[in-house]
Symmetry: D2
Subunit: 373 residues, 4 copies
């Protein structure tokens, strides 16, 4: 059971290795009648692409997306939508160095133990490149959510010791670290360059908002909105923690029930909360306010220093990882967080459609009037 | 789609409301041949039970477990194992207060929006009491893991500003807050009493270890070990965040790749890591070292103060929640964290069984020698 | 993976052995707001119960149903609905005869090979008694379908060489073999008595109709309406074949495309078919006409004659099965076929709810108007 | 929920429309370490391909398979294996005829009702061409089963009134109708030509064997071997019925329990059955003898005669379907039946791996000996 699918009703299945023939995703369960083209997807992939500035790897990945199925005359047909990205020039490199040694901080050792051998080219299936397929599916989810006035927005909230205040949403896509504050972004770029100069790497945090959610999304007990988000976001490589709303602060010294509870009030005839410590989720179900999560991303494990490790044949050795690697993966992960969040929301939007009889009556009426043939 | 099942191969389905007739769980997929009786399960439920000290609610819940199926002559048969706990005296209370008002910090409003109405008695399905069914299933998972030398241990690592160092594993079950340090436990009890006196509540953190895991558990991409743990643990009510290994520290100011990477070495012929910043997971797969997670629990939302809220009929009002409620739910959640962790590990142990052809050959041999009839 | 769940959105999980403590079912995903009580379920269980006439076993099974959860103030709450039937006097029998020998035509040998041992009391999990739990869940499905004018009707269409024409729907519940023709029913009873006198058993066929289905139920490719029905019905013990519509006749000598194709026409402004060779399904999707299936049930394997077999210790021997057993299981399986059909239809009704964007707009509107808190 | 996946552990997801850009399949859960190349898959696709004789459509479909992922150095890696077949020249045809009219016997009307519109080019997703993707995945399953000495063999057992005895297994691949009897094959070809001359079509039956199965495959209750086979085979377009073992004969006039029960005996120290009326399945679990199923295939719905129908705009009309169509689809479906059977068997082989504790001990031993880091 290889676990390459996610979602119950809006379900993505991904495939592909970093240096294999192609990467792809199949989304099954997207409702029919949604207008869709490659132009809806490509911009999200472009945000994930490396080589966009001095601070990310210069490896060329065009990630040109093709939609192979499930769209006819510009609209989704209700059948599976397959996305394909062919990999380019993936044959030439020399992997002799990492083929026999386990890179610290990477999954090499674990894959070898689990499967008996591994595709060592660029990390194979465990490469960050795998997230490109998630982004394709997530961009489709974002397209669907838009129909209902639901939007998702992720950004880099910190890199190392540089914290970015939420100054300006428009700023996010204007700087190479995707921070909502220009000054912080400049400091972050400085830090990244310094760290790279030290042949080291650094981590950071990504915050994600979703607005426009109706109350009622998420299923009690195991398929809670926050539980599925945690599943989705921690499944992104390098994520080591997640918070919903106040997160660890809610468990901390200064927190009390009297503070943490969000009181309800009426506003223009609508039930609202005075505060949003919950981050938009109560009992695992959306409460109609802004959904807020934050994830922690570890420093890139590939660093340009010699590290101690062992070989496949169980001998101690040193490894020096060649090639250019991002000294920080946080910026490139921003769009991945956004897309994984959207996949969860689209799935729960569909799951909630059958929560009450009243909903089904809106679709089917009280009775099918066809007499039997 | 109500989402009351969890797990792929070792799969739990729970049912029951706080004040309904009974709570229960069905575990499907437990391998045949495991010795099992109610005595393997009951002690875990007893740890979750309230009324054990002055700091928890005095509500009486005997939670006497019955195994209804799946066990014959003291061993599991491979068929579903059903657990049942009948609820006691669940008819007398007066719920008129909460029937029409939404309790802040609770799921009342969300259930009403989602389902059109709700079972308001004690929170119904969204009550913390629902976790008793998880504990029954989790205790079974712990029983199974024991066969393979795998153990799980959770404890309260902080309540409010009281942090508990890991002084003594034996101490955990000796104090009412389940802390591994006696002195910290005493301070925590003091704090809880003080907070209760202020008609308020407080949160805290739970840390969980698992030892004895083979390397290789967890599936790449979406069914990663850490992703499933996050799903499982954040699905527990009141959990607002989770960390794996160094968690948010790994994303912080002082973290660098050169520090965060755990170098490999050999020890008695076995591949080991010099450090364990990863918390036992690399690329979503167990790396053979101790599995470490930490979760944040918010303060109990039920507090004995008047709070502002709205009614079902959308009028602003005040609510005063009657009855005794735990001023902190952290201690009672400890065994729930342990059990949810065990459910994930049991599931992944089974999922990993078919990861390589070599494993299947150990079971089936190279060829079935029966000629066709 | 023990496979005790069925359905995607309207999902039943069953548990329990023939002679264990209890049998039960949990249905997760039933929409909230459906009025429900034990009286909606019990009549279906009563139809399955033995001891109702001279032709079925006189074993006493009261099968008194209890609803343990998911219903509040007479309506479903959207949370899992648990059904429980405690088994009665299940301790006294002497099973030494079958404990060590494999009954021909039963699953004894297969369970022993699969699990290493088995609960031999009355067949354990493989007993026909397991279907009582399915009937409880199926009766709930029938209750839900009724809201949309969808009805399901199964009956015995043949036993041995006695074929029953569809003379009178009302007749079905009036005779002990559940045939829609009184004369045929009398002949069938004669046959059964004769076969029983010969210490033998006989099989037969059950036909099932569903009326009132909207066109559009069923998902292309793997979750087709007819594929799910086949899965559901063949999962009932003793079923050895299934036909949809014309079934094997459509593949036979006299069939041609020009005959088998059902032409479309208009009737009162509605698209209708002139004939119904398809049995209500085209391309796996309901076409708005009557859904028709037929299943083949083998003769009861428990017969009162000595049969050759082997022991657990692999020695050849004879077995003589004691106790009274139905010489035909067809009549008792009628309600099971009806219930399994209803489970599939309820599931597909929910699955189809999200097939097109237009349906979701009916539920959610174009936009959630709540501004972020 | 579009239902384009099948299987629990060995899981196939397919995508693609008849005249879209490409067809494909992703198989997730194939164990690592299996040697595999395109040459293992292509021959199965070639058997399904049209245009191989005068009796099938001359439409050109090269169906050249590419493996995009999951294979490294000639072996499966345990990660998803993606198969791709690009469609050729799919733009030129004129579909104005069928775009607005519902073809009798096809799913056109049902798709229109379900999704609000449809990809009418060659039937879109409901085209028989969709089965090519299943064949790719099934060929992989056959490759896996071979490792355990399990083989699957399907053949045409009848077309119209021509029945083929099982004379010679080698003959199956030698004639265009895939019958195991040369003479019958010649008669069948005659019949097909005659029917085609009459602008009509004909159906038939396919029988499928599997040999070498260990006893124990299949899960009790809902995931029975025969239930999953029925699901799998009836999900193939045009299949209208299925039998396991004696099938409808077991329910018929001449059948009795004393005949239908297969007695057990010992043979060379192995438990065997004297007869095989069960078709290799008892209680839903393989019994170690040959697995036998038979399916009924309806006549091709596309015939070259004018048929009455209605338009999308609900007006009565006539339709004349252009282009060449197979007057019988049975021969091309033979390899599809074989492949669907293999998908079920591979899945159950994996599912059964965790049925008993003893199996897991063979993989994991009693205890993981790594001390915690």
């Amino acid at each position: 059971m290889a676990g390459s699918s996610f979602g119950n009703l809006f379900r993505i299945t991904t495939f592909g290795e970093s240096h294999g023939a192609a990467l792809g995703a199949v989304v099954d369960g997207c409702p029919a009648g949604l207008s869709l083209s490659e132009e809806d997807i490509q911009p999200f992939l472009d945000r994930r692409r490396p080589g966009q500035s001095g601070i990310t790897t210069s490896r060329k990945e065009s990630d040109r997306i093709r939609i192979l199925s499930g769209v006819f005359e510009g609209k989704t047909t209700g059948t599976p939508i397959a996305f394909l990205m062919e990999n380019e020039d993936h044959h030439s490199a020399d992997y002799s160095n990492i083929a026999d040694k386990f890179r610290p901080g990477h999954a090499d050792f674990c894959f070898e133990e689990k499967y008996g051998f591994r595709d060592y080219r660029g990390g194979g299936r465990s490469s960050g490149r795998e997230t490109a397929a998630r982004v394709a599916g997530g961009a489709l989810a974002i397209r669907l959510l838009k129909e209902f006035g639901i939007s998702v927005c992720a950004y880099t909230s910190s890199i190392g010791d540089v914290e970015a205040p939420f100054t300006d949403r428009e700023e996010i896509l204007k700087n190479p670290v995707f921070m909502p504050d220009k000054e912080a972004a400049e400091k972050a770029v400085e830090l990244i360059k310094k760290v790279a100069g030290e042949k080291d790497s650094v981590g950071g945090c990504i915050t994600c908002f979703a607005d426009g959610l109706p109350a009622g999304l998420g299923e009690p007990v195991f398929e809670k909105l926050d539980a599925l988000l945690s599943h989705a976001l921690v499944s992104v490589g390098a994520v080591k923690g997640i918070e919903i709303g106040d997160g660890f602060l809610a468990a901390g010294p200064s927190s009390r029930g009297s503070v943490n509870n969000d009181e309800f009030m009426m506003e223009n005839g609508v039930v609202r909360k005075k505060t949003n410590h919950s981050g938009g989720v109560l009992g695992g179900i959306s409460d109609g306010s802004r959904l807020i999560t934050r994830v922690a991303i570890k420093p890139t494990p590939s660093i340009a220093r010699a590290q101690k490790t062992v070989t496949k044949d169980k001998e101690e050795t040193e490894i020096l990882i060649h090639g250019r690697h991002d000294p920080v993966v946080v910026p490139r992960a921003v769009v991945v967080v956004e897309c994984m969040t959207a996949l969860v929301l689209a799935d729960l939007l569909l799951m909630n459609a059958t929560s009450k009889l009243e909903n089904l009556k809106k679709i089917y009426g009280n009775e099918n009037t066809l007499p039997p043939a």
